[in-house]
């Protein structure tokens, strides 16, 4: 067992990273050891990354202990880079984290300055003077490469910088030069954000934190009003919205809500979240209140603005969309479903259920042209065909009687068979042909039974009931 991280106190005692636990205990018997928990560390880092969303939407997790923030175009909102860094550091310090930060033009340089230098803001022109005294380990190289460089006396970045590039590459590979170029800004290094960057985003920072649901909704409506001009400029309406709530103590809640049609009106967006908030009610712990409220548009679509006619047709479509949105927001998008037809003879494949949210409510689709006439289908189809014990005429007659759900039914009349062959282009193995019969039993019910397979000398096919007729 080895030490993987140290706190301030143990550092002053002279313990080192990677030191054996037994050795550390031998030096300082009173040292307190806690097992490493990578999952918890990771979730803490994720939570901090979430919290960092307040500065920029482009937050990336860098290794096990670092975060990279792309603050391009964001610094002026906080009064400049210096103030932004101070703000981050101060808030993290107040939350009890020992953090170091640096701002520079390139991720590589920031990484190095923050871990091996003094941090702070590095101006572009002084990058060489700042980088030169840093150890070669600041180049983000593998451990043995660093060892090899050190063995040759190349201990600092300043030692490598003036060397000719070709021999360096021949001896140590392209990695060293790539990292060096990334640090010096000769090669662009992208930051890949951990969350999809919203298309549009608006937020409100509050001096006085809010807790009540009504306040949140009211504010969401106001923020949605701020989104309106941008949506109008794009000629778009949002389909998926995300409400991000930053709690005072650093926890971040994200609430997503989808709409059945592109939305723009602030009231309707707020109404979307009013159902969502009711659904997540218990999970949303307001604590001491929320200080930042942000509304993101994750997905948008073209907004067709239609003039309402005097009959109110447009309003009607809107109210149906509203109904679908509210139900889907509150109970989940799979609660409300529409039906679509598919080209298939197999009954259970011929109709599929789709979330109503994804079905265009206003558009009237024509009946699917199946290319064949389908008649005499049951009014209710069971979710799964149910096995029955049947006595039937061999080889291909309808059953005389059958036992379904423990009750014996006498067949009065039967129509059939209607043969439906399996779809060999879809099925992995041959499920067997089905012969469907419409039956009327003694008590009056009309049922849809089928025989799967055929009677052979030794095997008997299975009988199933799949639906009820009117």
């Amino acid at each position: 067992m080895r030490l993987t991280s140290l706190d301030e106190m143990s550092e002053t005692l002279g313990l080192r990273l990677g030191q054996g636990l037994a050795e550390a205990r031998a030096i300082h018997p009173s040292v307190e050891v806690v097992d490493e928990n990578p999952a918890a560390d990771r979730s803490l880092l994720e939570a901090i990354a979430d919290w960092c969303d307040r500065y920029t939407p482009l937050v990336a997790i860098d290794g096990e202990k670092g975060l990279l923030l792309d603050i391009t175009g964001c610094a002026h909102l906080f009064g400049g880079e210096e103030l932004l860094l101070n703000d981050v550091m101060l808030r993290l310090f107040q939350m009890g984290f020992d953090a170091r930060g640096a701002i520079s033009g390139w991720p590589g340089l920031s990484w190095a300055v923050c871990r091996f230098g003094h941090g702070g803001v590095v101006a572009d022109r002084e990058r060489e003077t700042i980088a030169a005294p840093l150890p070669v380990a600041a180049l983000r190289l593998e451990q043995d490469l660093v060892g090899a460089l050190r063995k040759l006396g190349l201990k600092r970045i300043g030692d490598i910088l003036p060397l000719p590039r070709a021999p360096l590459a021949r001896r140590f590979g392209a990695q060293v030069l790539l990292r060096l170029d990334q640090m010096m800004g000769r090669v662009e290094e992208p930051i890949s954000p951990r969350r999809p960057v919203p298309v549009l985003s608006c937020e409100r920072r509050l001096l006085e934190p809010i807790r009540a649901e009504e306040d949140i909704l009211h504010l969401a409506g106001q923020v949605a009003l701020l989104l309106l001009p941008s949506l109008e400029a794009r000629g778009a309406g949002g389909r998926v919205f995300e409400l991000v709530l930053f709690r005072v103590d650093g926890k971040v809640f994200r609430i997503e809500a989808g709409a059945s049609q592109p939305l723009r009106e602030p009231q309707r967006i707020a109404a979307l979240f009013s159902e969502r908030l009711k659904a997540v009610h218990d999970d949303l712990d307001a604590g001491f209140g929320f200080e930042i409220l942000r509304l993101n548009v994750l997905r948008h679509e073209d907004f067709r603005s239609t003039q309402t006619d005097f009959e109110g047709q447009g309003q009607q479509a809107a109210s149906l969309g509203d109904f679908v949105d509210r139900v889907s927001a509150r109970l989940g998008c799979h609660v409300l479903q529409g039906v679509a037809l598919r080209q298939s003879h197999v009954p259970e494949r011929a109709s599929v259920f789709l979330p109503a949210l994804d079905m265009p409510a206003a558009s009237k689709r024509d009946d699917l042209h199946l290319g064949f006439q389908i008649r005499d289908r049951p009014v209710r189809l069971f979710r799964y065909p149910e096995r029955v014990e049947a006595v039937a005429e061999v080889p291909d007659g309808p059953p005389f009687r059958f036992r379904w759900r423990r009750i014996l039914h006498e067949v009065l009349r039967a129509e059939g068979p209607e043969r439906i062959s399996p779809e060999w282009w879809l099925d992995e193995e041959d499920p067997g042909e089905r012969d469907y019969f419409r039956l009327e039993v003694m008590t009056g019910q009309r049922l849809w039974l089928y025989r799967k397979g055929h009677y052979h000398q030794d095997t008997a096919p299975g009988w199933y009931v799949q639906g009820v007729f009117a």
């Binding site: 009959e311 047709q313 009607q316 479509a317 109210s319 149906l320 509203d322 109904f323 679908v324 509210r326 139900v327 509150r330 109970l331 799979h334 609660v335 409300l336 479903q337 529409g338 039906v339 679509a340 037809l341 009954p347 011929a350 109709s351 259920f353 109503a356 079905m359 009237k364 009946d367 389908i374 289908r377 049951p378 009014v379 209710r380 189809l381 069971f382 979710r383 096995r387 029955v388 014990e389 036992r403 379904w404 759900r405 423990r406 009750i407 014996l408 009065l412 009349r413 129509e415 419409r438 009327e440 003694m442 008590t443 009056g444 019910q445 009309r446 639906g467 009820v468 007729f469 009117a470």
Partner: protein
């Protein structure tokens, strides 16, 4: 004199309230009602009656002109396997409702909401898209809601009525549930009244229960007639249009009433069926060791069943 006038006015107001509670039209108030309706500009035009009918004269007479377009109608089945008849009745009524509302283009744009219940879906499946054609409904005219809990189902029903965006709402429940009693049905009926949209409750395998439905039917399948051939004769041994036996259990008409209707899917209308020539269905007696009482769940005030229930092995 002035006091007299105010007393008169109060009397009229009370009478009107009572009439509204009872759902009757007071001749003296008709004019005021019409003015009201014009102002409210609801779905129901002031001139046309707020009912839709079966299209069979004898039945419609008994129903005082038809089922309410803005109220609660209940259909129940005694056993789960009768669900086909009840579903077909509701779909046929919905089809008639959508066809008969004077504003055709507008009405067909509105879908029908089917609120399914998990237990019912397990037992009896869902309405089948290809089977809807028999009732003149397109698959995209039906929206399904499959909530997990009864409270959610009631909430959806209420929201659907309030939104006025749905031509009809059908709420499926299983048996007599304590969570769906008189209070809830009264509340939904009032919502339906306010929104001017019909609500149908389909109670599978349930008993009669006090509810605020204006009409309650019990639906059972009846033997179908044979298919008609073009020359007017019948094709022997075939299964023709569906036939159901309806028992009107609750209405303003005191006597319970039973009739047999045939749904002609080609003309999309009901016909009074001729008495079937087929052997009458015999309900099997005690020879079957199966509990035939409806699968009613814990009803609030239900006497305990006498006798013992035996568990049999699964037959299938």
């Amino acid at each position: 004199m002035a006091e007299d006038a105010t007393a008169q006015e109060r009397l009229f107001a009370l009478r009107e309230t009572i009439a509204r509670l009872e759902g009757k039209a007071l001749p003296a108030m008709a004019a005021a009602r019409q003015a009201d309706a014009a102002v409210a500009a609801e779905g129901a035009a002031a001139g046309s009656s707020n009912r839709f009918c079966f299209g069979v004269q004898e039945v419609d007479c008994l129903l005082d002109g038809g089922l309410p377009r803005d109220g609660l109608t209940e259909v129940r089945t005694q056993l789960f396997r009768d669900s086909g008849a009840a579903t077909a009745l509701l779909l046929a009524l919905t089809s008639r409702l959508m066809g008969s509302s004077g504003k055709d283009e507008k009405a067909t744009g509105e879908p029908v909401l089917w609120i399914g219940d998990t237990a019912c879906v397990q037992e009896a499946g869902l309405p089948y898209a290809l089977g809807l054609r028999e009732f003149g409904l397109r698959p995209d005219q039906l929206l399904f809601a499959l909530p997990r809990k009864l409270e959610d189902a009631l909430w959806i029903a209420e929201l659907a009525l309030a939104s006025r965006a749905l031509a009809a709402t059908i709420l499926e429940v299983r048996g007599n549930l304590p969570g769906f009693g008189l209070t809830e049905s009264r509340r939904l009926a009032l919502r339906a009244k306010a929104a001017g949209r019909p609500l149908f409750v389909l109670r599978h395998a349930g008993e009669e229960e006090a509810s605020s439905a204006a009409f309650r039917f019990r639906a059972e399948p009846a033997p179908a007639l044979e298919r008609r051939l073009p020359d007017g004769s019948m094709l022997g041994g075939s299964l023709g249009h569906p036939v159901f036996r309806l028992t009107l259990e609750k209405s303003r008409n005191p006597a319970p009433l039973s009739f047999t209707l045939e749904w002609n899917s080609r003309d999309r209308q009901f016909l009074l069926a001729r008495p079937a020539v087929l052997p009458v269905a015999v309900t099997p007696g005690t020879a079957y060791p199966v509990d035939r009482s409806p699968a009613s769940v814990d009803r609030p005030d239900r006497p305990a069943q006498v006798g013992s229930l035996l568990a049999f092995d699964r037959a299938s």
